[in-house]
């Protein structure tokens, strides 16, 4: 905090000192709270958007198949996701540039292009799943997908193209706050606090043991919680918001709050799946688990239309949040590598390439979903496989960049304990990635 002694002005005969810009408050605590509220955004958005439509499906399915027995995994993933995202916060604040630009500049053109292509492919496949979810929910609510999907795509393009970062951030934060409804749903759906808390604190084997299906779902949960686009998104978001060195502690807090929220909401989603299983929901032969079917089941089995409609609308909310964050991470990354103007603070006229990439991602994914008999199942499986394979490479670059003393200096570079934690996470991710590969390629 900078201190200006106004007596100096009085001593020099200056009647009125030049007022510093910003909002004036009288209390130190109020100033800290106000500063935090100004900084908060990138951390909460990246974490809550991480619970996208695919995550809703994964978590509700985990609850349906394994009850509350996988809750301990959420507690383990909380620090993992925080530590990984905290690194991109430091990198973004120190350099004022995005993750794609850093890889390109420090590892050369080959790795730069590889990371960019890898990100664009995974992001596009994930985007298709977001629009597939919007289409499915629209059908379940009686709205024709031909109307709902293009409407959502246009809304997504409109909200990001206003030329104001703050406008986009406020709209997105409002969507994040809507997720609190998951907690309202979880209270009637849950079975008291004792059982879930015990399963969270004491790791237990999933119902039926560690079968290949259980391992696949555990890997899907890890892949959902730590995704490559999150690294690119938050660093670019921090850079676009022009966070200052002094904002680091507040952005860390923002990220921590976000990581707690994402796990709490995920647990609420698992409780919804658990309630469906306990009330006798069965899957039709040859059909995969579908959260829209689960919502309808719960609505007609004692929980009423509020629970049904809330779950359906929250799935759309998750898809919209995921779609805007993922499309932006693609557009920011492309703009950084190409050297184009790339900021939400710029108008469409001043950053045409950046907005064109954003709109292209959204429009193409939405269009693909509307094609009759598009291979959506194949795309959804491909997302899990490609993201699972590519995540370790994104984390390796992050770890190397955060140990780059020449770039970051002593202030921002990883401390030894950071490295220990991160190498454990990297080894864990590589191991899970190999298990996933073995399961998908050799058994299926």
């Amino acid at each position: 905090m900078n201190l200006i002694e106004n007596d100096n002005f009085a001593n020099k005969g200056v009647s009125t000192p030049p007022p510093p810009k910003g909002r004036a408050v009288h209390s130190r605590w109020t100033s800290r709270l106000l500063l935090f509220l100004m900084v908060v955004g990138p951390g909460v958005i990246v974490m809550v958007a991480d619970n996208d439509a695919g995550a809703v499906s994964t978590y509700t399915q985990a609850g349906y198949q394994y009850g509350t027995t996988l809750f301990w995994l959420m507690l383990i993933l909380l620090p993992c996701t925080y530590f990984v995202q905290e690194m991109v916060v430091r990198l973004g604040i120190a350099t004022g540039e995005g993750h794609a630009a850093m890889i390109y500049k420090r590892f050369g053109k080959w790795w730069g292009v590889f990371s960019l292509v890898d990100l664009q492919v995974v992001n596009f496949l994930t985007l298709v799943t977001e629009f597939a979810a919007i289409s499915m929910v629209a059908s379940a609510m009686g709205v024709p997908p031909l109307i709902a999907v293009p409407f959502m795509a246009l809304a997504l393009i409109a909200v990001a193209s206003t030329g104001s970062y703050l406008r986009w951030e406020r709209a997105t934060i409002a969507l994040c706050i809507l997720n609190v409804v998951w907690l309202l749903i979880a209270i009637p759906l849950g079975r008291g606090a004792q059982h879930p808390v015990r399963n969270m604190l004491l790791p237990t084997a999933p119902l039926g043991g560690f079968t290949s299906d259980a391992m696949f779902l555990i890997i899907a949960i890890v892949g959902t919680t730590i995704a490559p686009w999150q690294l690119f998104f938050q660093q670019s978001c921090v850079a676009d918001k022009r966070l200052r060195f002094s904002d680091l502690k507040w952005e860390r807090l923002d990220t921590f709050i976000g990581s707690v929220l994402t796990q709490v909401f995920a647990i609420a989603m698992m409780l919804a799946g658990d309630a469906a299983r306990r009330h006798g929901m069965t899957l039709q032969a040859g059909k995969d688990f579908d959260p829209t079917v689960m919502a309808t089941f719960l609505g007609t089995h004692g929980f009423g239309p509020f629970v049904r409609n809330s779950i359906l609308l929250l799935t759309v909310d998750a898809a919209i949040l995921g779609a805007t964050a993922i499309s932006l991470s693609s557009a920011w990354a492309y703009g950084e590598v190409k050297g184009w103007p790339h900021s939400l603070e710029l108008s469409v006229r001043k950053a045409p390439g950046f907005y064109a990439i954003y709109a292209l991602c959204v429009a193409t994914a939405a269009g693909l979903v509307l094609i009759p008999k598009a291979p959506l199942e194949l795309i959804i499986i491909s997302v899990q496989v490609v993201a699972g394979i590519m995540l370790p490479s994104a984390i390796i670059f992050l770890q190397l960049l955060l140990n780059d003393k020449e770039l970051l200096g002593e202030r921002f570079v990883n401390k030894p304990w950071n490295n220990w934690v991160n190498w454990i996470i990297i080894i864990l991710l590589f191991s899970l990635s190999f298990i996933l590969a073995a399961q998908v390629f050799l058994q299926r």
Binding site: M1, G22, T95, D404
Partner: protein, 73 residues
């Protein structure tokens, strides 16, 4: 950034939103060029290449086996 202004009567704190603050000088990666290839960096990048090659081969094997299965069920 929060700026504290002290007068004889009162203390005032001015809080500035990052987007409306003066831009601060960041670390410039353009001046540094590519990262020096220390042993640990080289090892990490070689390990990553190996991992990607293994995964690429597994994907190719899987796609090929699916194609063969499709052609000759």
């Amino acid at each position: 950034m929060a700026v504290q202004v002290k007068t004889n009567q009162d203390e005032l704190y001015y809080v500035v939103h990052p987007l409306f603050d003066e831009p601060e000088e960041k670390i410039n990666a353009d001046d540094l060029g590519p990262m020096p290839m220390s042993k640990s960096v080289k090892f990490s990048l070689y390990a990553l290449r190996g991992y990607l090659i293994i995964m690429g081969l597994l994907v190719s094997f899987h796609v090929l086996s699916l194609a063969i299965h499709h052609v000759m069920p």
